[in-house]
């Protein structure tokens, strides 16, 4: 069953009088519990597509349906509310709030939900245990390594038990060992927790962690590889 349905999607930006088409006539389905990697050259529109699916931006035309919700028609406030519950976002540079501890960073999105303190504590602890950082709860981002920060970022993304996790270059700022650990973690989330994951990456090795790779070029889908049909070129 498709949990993400993108239909006839157009996205363009205006720069002065000039109109720049970023995404054109794009259709995409992502199944529940699927791990999809979006690849393509710079400017191909992969981050834009990810932002649109995460409800961070609105399409120029077309529809995006996540679960049962058609999000392209939601207002900014409605989108914000929707995101809290349904989207977990993993950033390339972690983007943790430096003044908060790991626990508080993970708890942050839960503050926006009607949830008791005990429930919050349970969920935050659970999320940090999943990413294997239960012993670093009271550490601030400055006291953690890059890999640990990214794991806190992943814990923050899953703490609300979202419908979909979107990750924008999650391994881009990590060393190979940490990157591998982060990708393993994402795979674990998919396999153990049944999460649907969409990841933008330039790294073919990282993309191979996904079940499917979607290629974008000049704002259009140009092809897709499944795990079994990955060509050697992508592994280079």
């Amino acid at each position: 069953m498709a949990i993400v349905e993108v239909r006839d999607l157009y996205k363009s930006f205006s720069r002065g009088a000039e109109r720049i088409d970023v995404l054109m006539d794009l259709n995409l389905d992502v199944q529940e519990e699927e791990f999809v990697a979006l690849m393509g050259p710079s400017g191909s529109g992969k981050t834009t597509l990810l932002n649109l699916i995460a409800g961070l931006d609105g399409p120029t035309a077309g529809t995006i349906t996540i679960g049962d919700q058609e999000i392209s028609s939601l207002s900014e406030s409605e989108l914000a509310r929707w995101r809290t519950r349904n989207v977990g976002f993993v950033f390339q540079f972690y983007n943790l709030l430096p003044v908060l501890t790991a626990y508080e960073n993970v708890e942050l999105p839960l503050l926006l939900l009607p949830m008791s303190k005990a429930e919050r504590r349970r969920q935050v602890t659970n999320a940090l245990e999943i990413v294997n950082l239960a012993d670093r709860m009271s550490h601030r981002p400055g006291q953690l390594s890059g890999g640990q920060c990214q794991r806190v970022g992943i814990a923050r993304a899953i703490v609300t038990d979202p419908t979909i996790i979107v990750a924008d270059e999650p391994t881009g700022a990590l060393d190979s060992k940490s990157a591998e650990a982060a990708l393993d973690l994402l795979n674990l989330l998919r396999s153990e927790l049944g999460k649907t994951i969409m990841m933008v990456t330039h790294d073919p090795a990282a993309a191979r962690s996904a079940q499917r790779i979607v290629h974008l070029e000049k704002g259009r889908l140009v092809g897709a590889d499944t795990l079994n049909t990955l060509r050697p070129a992508h592994a280079e």
Binding site: R81, Q92, N95, L111, L112, R156
Partner: protein, 547 residues
């Protein structure tokens, strides 16, 4: 208020350059003091912030929504703690600017109150109409008493009631007990006109006391302890007056009252004045002046008048006005001693002293209301009265108004240019600080939006940061400005801070409220633009730039 300012109609003749230099120096001094005070209050500011932050932390354990809101509120404090130097500098700037603004507001309001026409009790001043300094014949005092006696009962000065006497520490009236109710009944328009009527007789008795208690004369005597030279170290400026003016409370404005001197100080003042009443050669000198002329209480002094040529006074110092008080640099002697010396001169020289007919400088009358003042002024201005030389009658506020007339443009500029300019600068200071903070946290704002924070929540957090600094800057600044003079006044047991020629300068109490409100307002205005920008942050654009 110092009577010497009433010698003339206008203030000192300062050139624009001098005024600018004085103004600049005062401004600079005020900024330095305010900055020192701001630095001094920094621990209080950060202490209060920490306490509030701890309070929020405690509240985080409370059930939602309080607990949850406290967590989000805690973010505001943490953001302010990120860059302590910037937060401290912004606080100091706001403190100093509020200080300046409130200082100007307090001064303008103080002067405004002085010059405002009052409806109730009026202090009115009779002085020479066309000559500066005012010099009138001594007979004008009695003439004025006669004029007052012709006024209808409702317009006559009233003696203090027993209740007011107790409050002010004034001795009981020789006219017996006086109830406030009795004063209201007798000093009305329906009083019987028959002189034999007991009510009328009682009224006349009280009205005579009323004139005694509410009329005083001022004569100014300049003197030197050395007949051959006049220096800073040997000169003396004396007010020649009736000592009863002190005990009846007519010199309250000079700080000679129970409230300013305290119970003990006032009792001592009454003791000293009684000594002056005992012997006309007894005088009281201010402590500051005593130090300068190197004399002490108990010393006998001989001084030579500078404005009453060839008149010499032999006096005994029986008391001192407290240091720091309005009269600390001056002295008080008996008016009848001056008159006696002028009589002696006539006897020995065979001719009246040139100043004998010009020895009354001012006469003060406290009238019960504006109508009574107008009635008295109309009588004084009647043809044939007080015409050699011509005298005029003005309210105290009108005199102050005339004195301040040359400065009215400066006051206007302070009120309508400098004050709004300071508010604008405050908004700008806070705006710049918050803008820098927002720019530094641009990505964090975007992340919070991604996590689901509503635009208004982000905006609210930014505005709260600005308002927090603003409210503390405004509050601590105005509170220090209001309470410091009060404490100094209490500590020195003097008449209070002197401000130009005015006594008892205190900041208006409302600044205690206006300060925090101002802080909130400039916080709101200053953070409007940066918080709006933070609200509108485009997540996709921020991350596109980061990437």
């Amino acid at each position: 208020m110092n009577p010497d300012m009433m010698m003339g109609q206008s203030g000192p003749d300062l050139s624009l350059m001098q005024t600018a230099i004085y103004g600049g120096a005062i401004m600079f001094g005020a900024i330095v003091i305010a900055t020192v005070m701001a630095c001094f209050t920094l621990p209080i500011f950060f202490g209060a912030m920490t306490l509030l932050s701890l309070g929020l932390r405690v509240l985080q354990n409370a059930p939602d929504p309080v607990g949850k809101s406290s967590k989000i509120g805690g973010l505001v404090f943490r953001s302010l703690r990120r860059n302590l130097l910037r937060t401290a500098l912004t606080y100091v700037a706001l403190f100093v600017l509020t200080w300046m603004l409130t200082g100007i507001y307090g001064m303008v309001k103080f002067l405004g109150d002085f010059t405002a026409e009052k409806e109730d009790s009026q202090l009115v001043i009779m002085s020479e109409k066309f000559s500066i300094p005012s010099q009138m014949p001594p007979g004008y005092a009695n003439q004025l008493r006669g004029v007052i006696e012709t006024l209808p009962p409702s317009n006559r000065p009233r003696p203090l009631s027993d209740e007011e006497r107790v409050k002010k520490g004034v001795a009981p009236s020789p006219a017996g007990p006086i109830a406030a109710q009795e004063l209201r009944e007798l000093f009305g328009d329906d009083l019987p006109t028959d002189p034999a009527n007991p009510k009328r007789r009682r009224f006349e008795q009280l009205a005579a006391e009323g004139v005694k208690e509410n009329l005083m004369t001022w004569s100014f005597v300049g003197a030197s302890l050395d007949p051959t030279k006049f220096t800073q170290e040997n000169n003396l400026f004396l007010f020649a007056l009736d000592p009863d003016a002190v005990t009846s409370g007519m010199m309250s404005e000079q700080g000679l009252n129970k409230e300013d001197l305290g119970e003990e100080g006032w009792t001592e003042m009454l003791r000293v004045i009684n000594l002056v009443k005992e012997d006309k050669r007894n005088i009281v000198i201010g402590e500051d002046r005593l130090k300068i002329i190197n004399k002490k209480v108990g010393d006998e002094v001989k001084f030579y008048s500078t404005n009453y040529k060839d008149i010499t006074f032999e006096c005994k110092i029986v008391g001192a006005f407290p240091a720091g008080s309005r009269l600390a640099g001056g002295a008080v002697m008996r008016y009848d001693y001056l008159l006696a010396k002028l009589d002696d001169y006539q006897k020995t020289e065979g001719a009246a002293h040139p100043q004998a007919d010009r020895c009354l400088n001012l006469a003060w009358v406290r009238m019960p209301n504006k109508t009574s003042y107008q009635a008295l002024a109309a009588k004084v201005n009647e043809p044939g009265k007080f015409n050699a030389p011509a005298a005029k009658m003005e309210t105290f506020s009108a005199v102050v108004g005339s004195f301040l007339e040359p400065y009215k443009d400066i006051f206007w500029g302070m009120k309508f240019i400098i004050m709004p300019a300071i508010v604008c600068i405050m908004c700008l200071v806070i705006g710049i600080t918050i803008t820098i903070g927002v720019r530094e946290r641009w990505t964090e704002m975007a992340v919070m939006k991604v996590l689901g924070f509503q635009p208004w929540q982000i905006m609210g957090m930014i505005v709260s940061e600005a308002m927090l600094i603003g409210v503390f800057g405004g509050m601590l600044s105005t509170w220090f400005l209001y309470f410091t003079p009060l404490l100094i006044r209490k500590g020195t047991k003097a008449v209070g801070l002197k401000f130009a020629f005015f006594d008892n300068f205190t900041m208006p109490w409302e600044i205690v409220i206006y300060g925090p409100i101002l802080g909130i307002a400039v916080g709101l205005i200053g953070s409007a633009l940066p918080s709006w920008n933070a609200r509108k942050v485009k997540v996709s654009e921020v991350f596109a730039q980061v990437a």
